[in-house]
Amino acid sequence: MSISERIENLLMSVQKPVRYMGGEFNAVMKDPNAVDVRYAFLFPDTYEVGMSHLGMKILYHAINARDDAWCERVFSPWVDMADLMRRDGIPLFSLESRTPIREFDLLGITLQYEMSFTNILEALDLAGIPLRREDRSEGPFVICGGPCAFNPEPLAPFVDLVALGDGEEETQQTIDLYRKWKAAGLPRDEYLRMAAQIPGIYVPSLYDVTYNADGTVASVVPKPGSGAPKVVRRALVKDLDSAVYPERLIVPYGEIVHNRIMLEIFRGCTRGCRFCQAGMIYRPIRERSIERLMRMADSLVASTGYDEISLMSLSSGDYSCLPELAHRMVERFAARRVRISLPSQRIDTVLTDTLKETQKVKKTALTLAPEAGTQRLRDVINKGVTEADLIRSVTDAFEQGWSAVKLYFMLGLPTETDEDVLGIADLAEKVRKCYFSVPRERRAPGLRITVSASVFVPKNDTPFQWAPQLDYETVVHRQQLLKQALSRVKGVDFKYHAPDLSYIEAVFARGDRRLGEALERAWRMGCRFDGWSDQFRYDLWLKAFEESGLDPDFYALRPRPTDEVFPWDHLDCGVTKDYMLREWERALREECTPDCRRGCTGCGMKRYPGACESR
């Protein structure tokens, strides 16, 4: 029986068989005999999550634009399917051609969040690929990229290459190099040595790590004679207008998380929120021109049939000509019944005009992220917004017919006190009052305020990389404090989660190479889909750390001295450690740093010639 038939036989017995079906409109099919390089792109989560991810779409189409390569997709099979595949001996397969992953040349894996790391081991195992790099003598080279690639050390034993930064160009270079390597008939290790010369490519196996007696890292240096650079600096695409962007997007059959056209209007954010890794590792701001965006939107609407375009970026309200862009989009597409939406709305942007434009087509909940409840703490995290900004934004929104507001906060930010937490409830109460200050005949009925409080995870490559995570008991205490305070504000829905998942996330965000051992143990004990609260097994994780002789508190809860060598110091995200340290010190002094568009703050991006000049 063919692998395809064997897969078919399982699909009747699993949840959501469309996840494994393939055959979507705009999926790329090629003749396997007509290409030199088979590239499998793994998103280590479910189909619905992975298919909502923009980066994968960009790289899928960028690779498939080449005649000599075929990129196919693969997602983590849900636990029911994974178990049946193991039972029947069906290896992990690609969606397009149902080819076993171990037969591919390159396996690209995107690291979007730390809690997907066990899914990577699960995928390798299901594919029949040995987990550890040194055990692999054939099969695809494993290449990781994405935001978590800036500290890939816990994954170091399992991966061949790590691609830092924008993937549009460096991915092509890894493919070009693969062709060269294959044509030359060189040994496997030679591909790694050659890849280490590509800008932005880090090869963990070419580096030696030494540790101090206290367990901290002493040094990470290239192995003698390896030719690998001392520091690997992230790849940067300077001009997004000329960068490749898909003209066609795969249109899934089932419902996925974000089922719409995603139009990336710019990349990067320079507001400098000190907790935010994306705000550091995607610098500088690179905008696409309105003309380019209109052309992209035209072809995507025609090729997908979607009725919604989402203007994506880290902070879409910051697009320099947002009112003009929104206006032109609405004008061009309203007659075709295509809605325009703006995610991740910030509260300090001049919303009014844009809101008017978008509401012409559809009204969704206004989502704002004050992050902290008091001005003092917002200054610490450099969230350069005031209460007055928030009040103005929500009042505008209520006056224009919005009635649902979602407010996002974090608990456990550095220097946080009970008072800061109670400030969140005050803010919710003020938002409520804003609604009732709008005359009844002008406001939409049915006020809904949702307050979401996540647990702060200090991330590598942010000014808060020196900060300890707040301990479990104090987090729980502050969650309860906030819950009680919010119970006195009518009409508020409070959402929060147990801190255990954020704790494991914090361990891995700033973890070192030794954690690979704990990761493998946790997976062997059955951990997978850790980001899904119904699958997450805190007890198994703690056991895995214990058996590996590692103390998770050491990674998550320890205040780190400013002269400590970090496990990721040899990976340069573009923003310098000096800058982040200055920002950490300013945070502790409660000093704000303005957006660099109002004057260079010396973050280090100027080291890329011309990078900061395009805006």
Partner: protein, 223 residues
């Protein structure tokens, strides 16, 4: 003006649910570039309907979608536009342009033809029961409906049935709102007669039919 499009559903896409297929077509018609008529109201959507829902896991060569156009359009151009908006596993097989007064195909459907393939070792024993089934006047069955279970006589709902080989048969079954029987239930009854467990089956729809002016069965697209 309306376009009646007959299309197939190939094995690869047999797990798209009817609801997902409806959503899929809402986007697909947007891709055609045809002048599609939209519903009025707050949340407009294309005016279209399906002749009959295909169960999850089945394949077909006779699915009919009825799409309303807001301006006249030639048959060939319509067919080409729809074909270009569908993946190859949903092939366009036939197109017919009708005017707005033409009855909805859904209302014309009376019966459907299927090929049923049986899995497992008891397949031939089950297929062997076909003549005995057809000889009976009454075959009692319990049909699950939305409101619960219902006792029915299954025999008159099976218009024809003939073995194709040891593990498959072809059958024509009633398919109206009040009178219908699914292949699963039919195979269940044959299995009972053979005193074996009902096996896994694969169902392929060959056609949908209604009645012509003389009251004779005729394929839906010709009515």
């Amino acid at each position: 003006m309306r376009a009646l499009i007959r299309f197939g559903k190939q094995p690869r896409l047999r797990f798209i649910s009817h609801l997902d297929l409806q959503r899929f077509f809402q986007r697909a018609v947007n891709r055609t570039g045809l002048p599609i008529a939209f519903t009025q109201g707050f949340n407009p959507h294309p005016v279209m309907s399906f002749s009959s829902a295909l169960a999850l896991g089945w394949t077909s060569e006779y699915e009919v979608i009825d799409i309303k156009l807001s301006a006249p359009m030639g048959r060939k151009r319509t067919e080409d536009a729809v074909r270009s908006a569908l993946p190859e596993d949903l092939p366009v097989l036939e197109t017919r342009m009708v005017d707005d007064r033409h009855p909805a195909p859904m209302a014309l459907v009376r019966m459907s033809d299927y090929i049923v393939r049986l899995g497992g070792e008891d397949a031939s024993a089950i297929v062997a029961q076909i003549p005995a089934f057809l000889d009976r006047e009454i075959v009692n069955a319990v049909k699950k409906t939305k409101s619960g279970e219902k006792e029915i006589n299954a025999r008159p709902l099976v218009l024809s049935m003939e073995p194709l080989d040891a593990a498959s048969f072809k059958t024509r079954l009633m398919l109206t709102e009040s009178q219908s029987i699914k292949p699963e239930l039919l195979v269940g009854l044959l299995s009972d007669m053979a005193a074996v467990e009902a096996p896994q089956i694969r169902v392929h729809r060959l056609s949908l039919s209604g009645l012509d002016a003389d009251g004779n069965p005729a394929p839906l697209m010709t009515l």
